[in-house]
Symmetry: C2
Subunit: 616 residues, 2 copies
Amino acid sequence: MALRARALYDFRSENPGEISLREHEVLSLCSEQDIEGWLEGVNSRGDRGLFPASYVQVIRAPEPGPPADGGPGVPARYANVPPGGFEPLPAAPPAAFQPLLQPQASPGSFQPSGTSFSYGGGALQPSPQQLYGGYQASQGSDDDWDDEWDDSSTVADEPGALGSGAYPDLDGSSSAGGGMAGRYRLSTRSDLSLGSRGASAPPQQHQGSGAKSSATVSRNLNRFSTFVKSGGEAFVLGEASGFVKDGDKLCVVLGPYGPEWQENPYPFQCTIDDPTKQTKFKGMKSYISYKLVPTHTQVPVHRRYKHFDWLYARLAEKFPVISVPHLPEKQATGRFEEDFISKRRKGLIWWMNHMASHPVLAQCDVFQHFLTCPSSTDEKAWKQGKRKAEKDEMVGANFFLTLSTPPAAALDLQEVESKIDGFKSFTKKMDDSALQLNHTANEFARKQVTGFKKEYQKVGQSFRGLSQAFELDQQAFSVGLNQAIAFTGDAYDAIGELFAEQPRQDLDPVMDLLALYQGHLANFPDIIHVQKGALTKVKESRRHVEEGKMEVQKADGIQDRCNTISFATLAEIHHFHQIRVRDFKSQMQHFLQQQIIFFQKVTQKLEEALHKYDSV
Amino acid sequence: MALRARALYDFRSENPGEISLREHEVLSLCSEQDIEGWLEGVNSRGDRGLFPASYVQVIRAPEPGPPADGGPGVPARYANVPPGGFEPLPAAPPAAFQPLLQPQASPGSFQPSGTSFSYGGGALQPSPQQLYGGYQASQGSDDDWDDEWDDSSTVADEPGALGSGAYPDLDGSSSAGGGMAGRYRLSTRSDLSLGSRGASAPPQQHQGSGAKSSATVSRNLNRFSTFVKSGGEAFVLGEASGFVKDGDKLCVVLGPYGPEWQENPYPFQCTIDDPTKQTKFKGMKSYISYKLVPTHTQVPVHRRYKHFDWLYARLAEKFPVISVPHLPEKQATGRFEEDFISKRRKGLIWWMNHMASHPVLAQCDVFQHFLTCPSSTDEKAWKQGKRKAEKDEMVGANFFLTLSTPPAAALDLQEVESKIDGFKSFTKKMDDSALQLNHTANEFARKQVTGFKKEYQKVGQSFRGLSQAFELDQQAFSVGLNQAIAFTGDAYDAIGELFAEQPRQDLDPVMDLLALYQGHLANFPDIIHVQKGALTKVKESRRHVEEGKMEVQKADGIQDRCNTISFATLAEIHHFHQIRVRDFKSQMQHFLQQQIIFFQKVTQKLEEALHKYDSV
């Protein structure tokens, strides 16, 4: 008997390879095993494709009555089945996102991502901790700070809790660690694909009213779209409310290139140093503590990775249209190995650099609390700030209330749409090329550490061999040459070593930068989705006005609020371009400078060797 | 029935893996198939090993009487078989040489040399042309100058004439030709082993009296040893005679490091340029002509490769203890390809350089005739000189008569022996390390032409890909970066090309030098053999004097003539060390200089790229 499942909610396919579902519809499944939260099956209209596993319930008992051969009559048969399904839902898989930047995702080629590029979750994508009780449970309780959830190691210790492989290899991607040669693995495309995007999440309690199959006018059918979850829809429809002090307003201003975030009047930077292994509970638990020194306070604070992770979750929840930089990848094993600590520290420095240079993120309360509160000496103040952040009401829909934007006249809707579409194409192409460059850099590094080093050292060895043969002739006129050739051999050995050490200096930083930007690129589909959702609402409301179903005033309100979102989105896009040009310029310069220094060192070695022949 | 063979002559094993044979002895063969002129079998004493195929005759008919189980009685049974065997000998395999510098040659591991290192034959080793009628037939006839035997192409066209694979791949070693990538083949040890040494040749008419199994006292049993063939034995035994004018004397003098050749009072050099394709017989025949300009005449002469080859044959015949540099390798196909012509020209320049810097070779008549006679304008003079050289009587044994040496008191026999043995070890070790370096250089060149180039160009391509993605953003502050990254991509492309072109500049000359020296190293075993043969004769004659079988005067004569050979050998060894130090010093300097220039070029490319970011 073919496996079957019943749709619990409507699902609208948004990408090639997906199929739409109607609530109560019965589908035949190709397999009960989901792939990253997606199932493959055939719907009642005979379309075959992927849909979120959490949107359906597998039918375990033999189906009574005629086989579900589809057709419009079938859903009615199950109309009396209550929404929510027959069985309790399994532990929630990750939230719903379209694999917008994954052109390779198609039925049949849809593979588990292996070692996925695992910089935390997307800006609006709940992290595994949130989904599996890590964060959500801890929000109200400070006791949990002492849990070992720095690296989701508790989850890693209990693989069963991860569900059906939604994040099959989240923590394994850098487990190679150790020696240099092991570091530059042969990478595959899936290694570097944009964030590990799971399938759609089922409705969650705090996301408001339960899903209804017959959505009200002006509401998305898909209750789990980013537009809805981010609060974008609620805001556009005028449902958000909250009091914002003028001083807390976030300003979008008009710059020479269009809307941009108002600059941070108090710019600062923050160093991250001294990763130190700490223990507590008489050595039962260990963790790494980093010393942070922000330039605007000059007071060091000490933070663990879990503090960064907590902060990241607050920011991702609070800012719907801001690309919160992803944290460096998590890792279950080898957390205390020197290589990993050094790599993570570099990742955190990049992260901090991007945080501090974002006008909105840099100034927000929870980040300032993180940067300035001396948790180790004033536990109480720390906990207060922490609780305040977790209870912050100006998140999601309400965040948009805090925005102060230029007059609407500054926006041309068509121009906005074209700019957003252009940026969408840009992110796709940049992601592809970043992926390619990362792959090439990784391969190039691997070759230098292994092949190049070996080749130069073989040359060195052969020269030394020749000099050893020549040493059998100890006549005076031969000795100088023998020594010079031996020296040349040593020089080539040293050049081999230089090749092997070089990637740390030039290619590694390039790859670090690419990783950070791949995180940003993974954030933007959601940001764009929110803006596009708002724009759709504007068009819808205009139609309603034309049809006399809506008051002009209400539609204008929708338009105004959509403009607010557009201003913010364009400001964020502008900020992205600004830091991109800044970062890639400085990174390319650094790369070339390091390469130049390297080749100069090689030249110097050769010149030293050449001079040995002067006296022969 | 086991294959058997009968020994036609005595053969004394001189190297591990060989076995001795007695005339008429019956051996069992492991295979009828010879390997480079050697057969493997078990002799009558039960020793298993290699012996020259031409020293035995395979027994085709069933052996009458008891099976040849060896034992001292067996040889007597065939005592009435006449020397010369039952069947006519096959076309002569190459002359006999012990694989003295081939430590890998042992029973079981004895493999055909594949693409052997094919710089002509050894100084005393008849070239394939000599053996297969090429030269010997042409010596008396000037008509043959027009034959296409430049590259032994007639032999190559008739592989059957080559016999049983004695030179299985003589002309195939550089047939790859063409593109750069094809040039640096994966080489194996056998590619580069010292000259292709065949097994012993059977007696030839011009080598004097037929072989007798019962040698006379003071004569070597082995009529085909280098010592005998070179004329060394005849000279030592006082059998050489000829009139030498004082002006034709070749002087060995005592220098600070011992005996050395008297310097050439009229040193010169000779350029080799303008390789030009010439045709004759209305375009039916083509050849390459080189322009030679010796510095002492400044008159250009034109020579073909076959002229060089003819000259080489004359020199190798004339000078028993001088290492005549080998000519660049022969090649049957692709003779008119630019790459090959350029390579051959470089090889001829090296050859000419070594000829001109050898005090004896540089001054000898036939070489001077070759350098100065304008064959194209004065055909008659050219033919006269050619005939004179071919009829030169002062070759082989008589050559030693032309030597003028310091007083015998300058030589300590023990010291001579120790010096010669030391040099023997030296050549072995130098050959091993030259082989290794050649292999490494070949591999390194191949890697640069393929792998290194590819890696740098992949980096270039990825940078260009990134700049293409970035070009989707055409805001003013982005354009400069896009262009700079594109330029960087091009720079890495160019660096890839530099890597691919580099081996021509530095590694190829190193390999050319090694090839030349591997030729010299292949000559020395024979030179040493002649000296050692002479020394043995001295010891033998002293024993005879003690036993009253020889007059003291005769023994003294032997000693004197042996001293002459020793002086010449030591002078030649000294010359080898001198040019070795000179050549390797200048080649190592050239190599390092080229490498430095290369890395400076790379650095410059990178600096150009770096400057593009200044204005971003």
